[in-house]
Amino acid sequence: MPTPALNPAASSETVPWRPLLTICAAGVFLRLCLLWIVGDLELQSDEANYVYLGIAWNHFGFYLDQHRYLWPPGYSWLMAHSLSLLGENGMLGIKYLQVLASASIGLTTMLFATRLFGARAARLAGWIWVGYLPLAAFTHLLWNETLFSALFLPGLYQTFRLMQNGSDARATRRVAVAGLCFAGSLYLKESPLALMVVLAALLVPFAGGLLEGLRRGSLLLLIVGACILPWGMRNLDVYGRFIPLGTSLGENAFNGLNEDYRNFDWIPIDVERDRRGLPPTRTVARHAFDYVDPVVYKDLDLRMDELRKETASAIKASRKGVAAGFEPDPRAADLQIQLRQNIALQDRWREAVPPVEPESLVEFASESGWLRAESPAVINTAERSSINTANGIRFAQDHPGWYLRSRLRKVADLLTPMSFFTRHQALGHYNETALGGNLLRRVTSLWALACPLTVLLLGILGYVTVLKNRPAWLLLGCTLGYFLCTTLLVAMSRFRIPTVPLLIVLAAGFIVHRKSVTRRRDRVVGSLVVLYLLFSWWMTWPEVSMVFGDMIWSRHEA
């Protein structure tokens, strides 16, 4: 696609601070109300891990890794300090901090919109941000998405300003602010580390001269580098290898480049469905996008017999090995678990009404895929990550067809209408609050479902049709593309959160300037984008509709 012509129509527009600050205050107030309504929710998944790491940090005086991950230390460090300062209210303290920090997200969203599409679009973007429930909900959850975005987006905005105005007299100051914001955000989430190089490179052609461009780009990298070096050196000291901030690549390769399809939007939901006696979401999934070895419904019995035989012989061999003084074969235990899972799954398929067509694809984890590298084969988390990454790449190379099909599914998982708000509603986490009441649960969940559907559709349309500013086109394209690429391993709704404010800007731009889309090429590209989005939603629709119907629309009485 050719780069649009430079058209900085709105770049010189003055910022209408008063309305923007009013909208920002409304957004913060709404988030504050949400926090007051839900209060200090029970800890879920990673929330409990961050609290554990914060307490352990206070107790031992240093940061422990997470065995399979080494998360960047920022959020746990904040948790440690908050717990140390506020005691049992420390977790609530972080939530209040997130509510306040969300002002940075709202304001940056509106500033981007002002510079790109004018004041009207900025106000509209602001109101969309205010009411975007899945984003607002993160301020009362102990995940680092809000604080990350509150630092990352201002950095991106400063980068945009630098690209927009080559002769900016405050260029050095802007680079410094951008660098510090990015470095702070990297301490919370390491995934955009490589994006820093891309952003530095983007500064070069828009600086009004090659030397000045190189000066700005290198300054940005030096600031980020100087900020993250101490932690990288600390990791070198502990793990014997330089890890700039953290490493989660290996575990993500295990989850995303392996036999078993995993999406962390569904995993806790399936655990809960099992507890409630409901069929797992996998029984309705479109398996054409995740199977490695296709299994049709009519072959289930045959496959089960094969798996039983394989399991029996693996257990026998493992027992012989143990008797001879060797370690038990981990594959035997793995096969046993799979056999149990498959028996349960097969029963679910048979219970399905109406019965599944004989030729339709069903899930059958007949192979265990590759196993995680564990001690004593690996010394530490960093080494484990490297080995798992290599195993994942090998698996992808061995199954190129599966790799391509399953990446379509990953993109669909990223573009899903689900969000953590709807996931929490489905799991019943809000049941003890006003949001869990029958009416509010349904209304807010429908609203939370409508938010990504609308913003993804209009935002992507906005990018391909009305964004005519070359620096912004490159900057937003690289940023959105980068986050899309990083989720091609494991995707879930949470991973798109940092990009949502940018999509809101583009959606507002599209709504305001949609009538200017007259070129045939823009219309064709726009139509193709809409078709692809519809295709992605079709891919995840069976699970989304099943969960919405079973777990949100109808209330579960424990």
């Binding site: 065995h67 049992e88 030096l222 100087a226 000291d237």
Partner: protein, 205 residues
């Protein structure tokens, strides 16, 4: 005499390069060798010992390092809470199957009178062991809940806990777990005999 503008604009680079060099040098200077860390294990404060254990468990190949089976097992009984607590974290559970730790934790459920740890010490270790992050292969089971966080913070402040309340709560919670290791909490002589062999190639002595 002022520098030309073009040269002045590169001063931040010089300053940052200097900072990077200083950071690098400082980090290299504070680097501790395995010998120094080994010495720290015996001759320093509790927190320093815990740090030494953390680094020794993660850097280099621990199979020929100072964290031997006897060092780990002795640490369980160490009067220093930081050293004794470290034995319940992922770092050390990775090196030697944590059967002794599990036995020490399970006795409070089975026969509280035989428990060797004070309730508060026991609870702290229980939380570090059972709720450890990344934990299933290393004895972790369910994640922390608000109630447990409150008790843990209380314990770390030096406050006392109510045994009946804590044990009843934990028993209720454990009933809901599907962790295989969790079900192994009760002492099992046969398993313990098997566990006397090492978890793998380290610690081998």
């Amino acid at each position: 005499m002022s520098l030309p503008l073009k040269i002045r604009s590169w001063i931040p680079h010089l300053a940052l390069l200097t900072l990077v060099l200083v950071e690098y040098q400082r980090a290299r200077a504070s680097h501790l060798t395995r010998e120094e860390l080994t010495l720290m294990l015996s001759e320093s404060t509790g927190r320093e010992k815990a740090w030494a254990m953390h680094v020794l468990a993660n850097r280099d190949d621990p199979s020929d390092g100072p964290l031997t089976r006897s060092v780990i097992q002795d640490a369980i009984l160490d009067p220093d809470p930081w050293v004794a607590d470290m034995v319940y974290t992922a770092d050390l559970c990775r090196l030697l199957k944590p059967s002794r730790q599990e036995k020490r934790l399970s006795v409070r459920f089975d026969d509280p009178e035989k428990s060797q740890d004070k309730l508060e010490d026991w609870f702290r270790r229980f939380a570090f062991y059972r709720r450890k992050v990344g934990g299933r292969p290393l004895g972790g089971s369910l994640r922390l809940k608000q109630q447990e966080v409150q008790w843990l913070l209380q314990v770390l402040r030096g406050d006392l806990l109510d045994e009946g309340e804590v044990i009843a709560y934990l028993e209720r919670r454990q009933a809901g777990t599907n962790s295989a290791r969790m079900q192994n909490l009760k002492p099992n002589k046969k398993r313990d005999r098997e566990d006397r062999s090492s978890a793998g190639r380290f610690p081998g002595r």
